[in-house]
């Protein structure tokens, strides 16, 4: 194998794929090969790949190949070397058991790993449709924030992606909150349909790396070579395939109310600042209390006789009974960060009974999209019961 590539393109491709290398040091000998990065110059172009049996990342770049072939190089080492290469074209070739990297006057020889032992990478399933990278990245980060991080409930560590014609619906929940985002996309066929539960961290990483510039992302749902369900994302010469999370995502749609009898609207940025300030005095999981009165919202945290206490008052648009509701401040901040609007609306379940409204989940959305139209981003948040 022998090829010549541009330094920056090579560095970027290697750094991007290296992020999918297995993080923990593989102990079993058969997994040793997975710590390697595959350089595939069987042409056209060069493919750099990493695979940990869950996620496969491949980056394609232009290369002048003078001798076709494949090689497996120690991944971390290769990534560190390419980061420090001088600004000059890079020439890479195999020499016996070694991989030589020459750039400018610098020359490295790495011991290669047995490339024939490297597992076959799952191919990208047939493409289901396309979406603009920036929009997809933003939507994924709005939803992934609500995904569970606890591996004891694996189903909740995924983001559910549902395709119904030209509408994509993303949903995630950790039981304390639920985030749902709908957006338009361009399906390959007008009656495209499908559901996939994608590991939230992988999806977030992938969507972020494809969100730069005006990249168009292809989404592909299908099955891999051994019949396992796969999701694939491709754009800008990069491609990620990931195994799906097994299991049934909770039937979340029935949790979302059709309409909210009671709505309070608050300016988002000042509220976010206030929550951050007030939450300083609340111990780890202690709530921040929001007391809505006619035209005012008072935030309160900490307790009488506790170490500290804080409160802050903000203007709000509200007309209903006096209502006190408490939320986990971190979850509330996540919602405010995710909502893409100047105003946030809290929708409560009852307009007459303040006690019911404070006990049932509240729905947080951006400024109303219009009558009878569901907002494209909804964040359902379970209140914490106030004592006494």
């Amino acid at each position: 194998m022998r090829f010549r590539v541009e330094r920056d393109e090579f560095t970027e491709a290697v750094a991007w794929t290296a992020r999918s290398l297995p993080s923990r040091t593989a102990t079993a000998a058969q997994q040793q090969v997975l710590t390697g990065l595959l350089l595939d110059a069987s042409g056209p172009g060069l493919v750099v790949a990493a695979f940990d049996y869950e996620v496969a990342a491949q980056a394609k770049l232009e290369a002048t190949i003078s001798e076709e072939g494949r090689a497996l190089a120690p991944g971390k080492m290769l990534a560190e070397i390419t980061k420090q290469l001088p600004a000059a074209p890079v020439e890479v070739w195999t020499e016996g058991n070694g991989l030589v990297i020459a750039c400018g006057n610098a020359r490295f020889t790495l011991r290669t790993m047995p490339v024939e032992e490297y597992p076959a990478l799952p191919p990208l399933p047939p493409i289901t449709g396309y979406i603009e990278g920036g929009a997809f990245g933003a939507a994924v980060s709005q939803v992934a924030v609500a995904a569970g991080r606890d591996d004891t409930l694996p189903v909740l560590t995924g983001v559910r992606l549902e395709i119904e014609g030209d509408v994509l619906t993303l949903a995630a929940t950790d039981r304390y909150r639920l985030a749902v985002r709908t957006l338009k996309w361009r399906p390959e066929s007008p009656d495209a349909a499908g559901v996939a539960l994608i590991p939230a961290r992988t999806l977030l990483d992938t969507a972020r790396s494809l969100s730069g510039g005006s990249v168009e992302v292809a989404i592909a749902l299908g099955t891999g070579p051994s019949g396992e369900a796969l999701a694939g994302f491709a754009g800008n010469g990069r491609q990620t395939t990931t195994r799906l999370v097994d299991g049934q995502f909770p039937p979340y749609r029935k949790l979302l109310p059709d309409s909210c009898p009671l709505i309070a609207a608050v300016e988002k940025a000042p509220l976010l600042e206030a929550v951050k300030r007030v939450a300083l005095v609340a111990p780890k999981t202690a709530p921040v209390k929001l007391a809505f009165t006619e035209d005012h919202l008072e935030l309160e945290a900490g307790s009488n006789g506790g170490e500290a206490q804080a409160s802050e008052t903000l203007p709000s648009t509200y007309s209903g009974p006096d209502l006190a509701v408490a939320f986990n401040p971190a979850y509330l901040q996540d919602a405010l960060n995710a909502i893409d609007s100047d105003q946030v609306e809290f929708g409560f379940a009852s307009a007459d009974d303040a006690e019911v409204a404070a006990k049932k989940p509240a729905i947080l959305t951006g400024k109303g999209a219009g009558e009878g139209e569901a907002p494209d981003y909804r964040y359902l948040l379970m209140p914490i019961q106030l004592n006494g």
């Binding site: 039981r175 304390y176 986990n328 359902l380």
Partner: protein, 220 residues
């Protein structure tokens, strides 16, 4: 895991030089890349070894193992009596009993399980002679030092007595200062001594604590 039994001599070249004269020994090559040389004794302790990351190069009658610090282990092999490789898979690891530490974490989240009116001020409160497990506040504003043990014995009572004595001297803490010894079980002697010292004792059920429903309501 590769096991080799061979008559060999070993030279170590690095920060210090060492030589093992020719004898029959066990050579272990593990999947992490490490190589160790064992005699028929000294339990788990090898005579010499090289930790990973290191590289093993096998030549004709000579193994050379080198690491990043440029130290090397040279094994001159005269005769191989046994050479086999076994796939052990991933080891589940050693499980230690972390009940006491876990109890502290659980009770820090649910101080009301010790006594209903308690709220947590902080974990591991430094008294100057060691940290008390939990510093809590009672409903009437008093400070409460909580020492958590798996089994409540005389030692635990003595320890808590010293902490409380220190904390009484601390003007920064709200007074009065009480002490509670919390354990899964408490010996009658410890109970008696605690009462004499004016300390309370509480037994908690670890399994029940672990299975406690989270106090945070969920959507479904």
């Amino acid at each position: 895991m590769r096991l080799v039994i061979a008559r060999c001599s070993v030279d170590y070249v690095g920060r210090l030089n060492a030589h093992l004269p020719s004898a029959v020994r066990l050579l272990l090559v593990k999947a992490d890349g490490s190589v160790s040389i064992h005699a028929d004794g000294r339990a788990y302790k090898p005579l010499n070894w090289m930790s990973p990351p290191c590289v093993l190069t096998e030549g004709e009658g000579l193994w050379r193992i080198t690491n990043k610090a440029d130290e090397s282990l040279l094994i001159t092999i005269e005769e191989v009596m046994h050479d086999s490789t076994h796939e052990l898979g991933v080891d589940p690891g050693l499980r230690k009993d972390g009940v006491e530490a876990h109890l502290q974490v659980l009770l820090a989240d649910r101080p009301d399980a010790i006594r209903e009116d308690l709220t947590l001020v902080r974990r591991e409160y430094e008294t100057g002679i060691g940290p008390v497990d939990l510093l809590c506040r009672s409903g009437d504003g008093a400070s409460v030092a909580v020492e958590i043990k798996r089994r409540g014995e005389i030692d635990g009572v003595e320890q808590l007595t010293r902490y409380v004595a220190r904390m009484v001297e601390d003007p920064g803490l709200p007074h009065p200062v009480h002490g509670i010894l919390v354990a899964q079980s408490i010996t009658p002697q410890a109970r008696l001594l605690a009462t004499d010292r004016g300390l309370a004792t509480v037994t908690v059920n670890y399994d029940a604590l672990r299975g406690l429903e989270p106090s945070i309501p969920t959507l479904f």
